[in-house]
Symmetry: C2
Subunit: 328 residues, 2 copies
């Protein structure tokens, strides 16, 4: 049975104070995210306004976590095997007194395995929504920690470069995972074109083909670029952002898994994109542009390449999401 | 014979226009610099107000480059073997019509081999001074290119992480050497304590002990830190600057060449320093502090460690030089 409260009085188990009056159901939109941002492998990511997942959560008299999928993806409903479930379980472990069950409904629009943070949207959306139900008991940093458990279910690795931007919005730097150190970075207006070729690239495969050792000289080039990118974002220097969007380590290895990658990158830049690359571990490709006209021209070029290759694909023209998971 | 003009009329060989009236002799102070800045190996550096070299340059009727040392260091006076000479030779190669000789007088106060950019100060000071004599014919970026030839004489490698901050002042990022891409970074007020133990660490030795391959996971940690440091500088976030001053790749290898390194670092942080590490390739150690009182307390701790080790040393308490090479 699903319990519907219009409002509930919440007693905070950590502060010992009343946490305020809350709605009995919380609905959120959890945005897609682009991890790595070319030269920021494992440490940079940003949220976009489109696509996003729709989720709602409420307390239920059934203990534990009940997951109801309202989309076509047939994702697991056993909490330990579901990314949102794993995130909520981690959250429940730190709830001292509050032991009521959660019922989570998920309607995914971000296709799993697309490389734009589908698992992060589920994990992050679930804990942000649950936290609101609990009267904002936890900090955003706590929520990132919980949601990283979802990433571990999805890819075997606790990483935060999708989770953090999904929760914080904007561009985020994860300076360190252990201990967690998240640095929100301001950025000038940026338009984002994403193409998702309908092929499967498993995150675990994309990770396993990477060499565990790299040349020091390549690493130096990479950290020169990430330093340039961060400076370009904070200084609103579009040209510097463009010059810094270079990846000499990961892209040369991973891009071979993505048909048409080199051509899309070249044509996008010729169309005026600042630059771009693989979104997360792929197969989606993203490009950044200074204005929407350019971003739409880039989309045309992406269409052109995949039409020639007769490869099914989806495209998005969107911009950076500044709020993260949004209450609706 | 040394020619003394009070003023000369200069004809710019590049623009074909008169370059203005200049003094016949140009005197400069060229500041010491701290390269690497812990997590920014080969790409970050900053200039300090103390120590600095004094240099003067004038045209002479003797072709080529005449070098006169006015200090005790007995550095080579053959231009090809002198860092300032090599920098000026590179500059002369790009001077189309102007073929008069330069006479350069150098009085070094930055001890060669100290790790605070002694060679860079000579090279950068020489080309900045000569450029003023030529009516500011070249851009700062050109001057960095010329001066890097001096670094090649000194260490066998063309690097710009001392040269660029020496010429630009402040903190500079060298995003890329080829092609050269220099990004000046604003920084909040920072006090710098430097200790120079009187031991010799050759740049070439300090470079040769580095592994040419590094673990990807360590490289990721390093670029998370440099991204954090750049963000901390641009956001004037002292705590973030402090957290980001971590080097998991170079310092663990190089610090074994510097007696007392670990203890100085620990005591400096306990005294309130934000953090710090090896200056360039050592043996100097630098620490950053938010205020001068802390910087002086750090100096005391450095003294203490080297007095116990009976190791001769010099210390400097200074701050970031914002102007680079200065005309006097």
């Amino acid at each position: 049975m699903r319990l519907h409260f219009n409002t509930i009085q919440f007693f905070s188990p950590l502060s010992g104070e009343a946490g305020g009056v809350m709605a009995g159901e919380v609905k959120v939109h959890a945005p897609a995210t682009v991890a790595n941002m070319v030269c920021g492998f494992d440490v940079l990511g940003f949220a976009v306004n489109d696509p996003y997942d729709e989720m709602s959560i409420c307390f239920t008299d059934k203990p534990g976590i009940t997951i109801i999928n309202e989309d076509e993806y047939n994702l697991p409903t056993i909490p330990e095997l579901n990314v949102a479930g794993a995130a909520l379980l981690a959250m429940q472990e730190e709830m001292i007194e509050e032991k009521r069950g959660f019922e989570l409904r998920i309607c995914k629009h971000i296709k799993p395995g697309s490389g734009v943070g589908s698992s992060a949207a589920s994990s992050a959306g679930a804990v942000v929504a649950a936290n609101r139900l609990l009267g904002d008991l936890f900090t955003n940093e706590d929520l990132v920690r919980f949601a990283m458990n979802g990433e571990k279910v999805a890819s075997g690795v606790k990483h935060a470069d999708n989770i953090a931007p999904c929760i914080y919005g904007g561009v985020t730097l994860i300076r360190s995972i252990f201990p967690l150190d998240i640095v929100p970075l301001t950025a000038p207006p940026l338009f984002v074109t994403i193409v998702h070729p309908q092929i499967e690239v498993r995150t675990s495969d994309a990770r396993s083909i990477l060499k565990q050792q790299v040349l020091l000289k390549d690493a130096i080039r990479q950290w020169g670029n990430i330093a340039g990118l961060v400076a370009g974002l904070l200084k609103s220097d579009y040209a510097l952002i463009g010059r810094s969007l270079e990846d000499v380590l990961i892209e040369p290895v991973r891009s071979i898994l993505i048909p048409g990658f080199d051509q899309i990158k070249q044509l996008s830049k010729e169309a005026g994109a600042l630059g771009g690359g693989i979104s997360g571990s792929g197969p989606s490709i993203f490009m950044l542009s200074k204005d929407e006209v350019t971003a739409r021209e880039v989309e045309k070029q992406m269409h052109g390449v995949y039409e020639k290759l007769s490869l099914d694909h989806h495209t998005y023209v969107t911009n950076i999401n500044q709020t993260g998971v949004r209450f609706v």
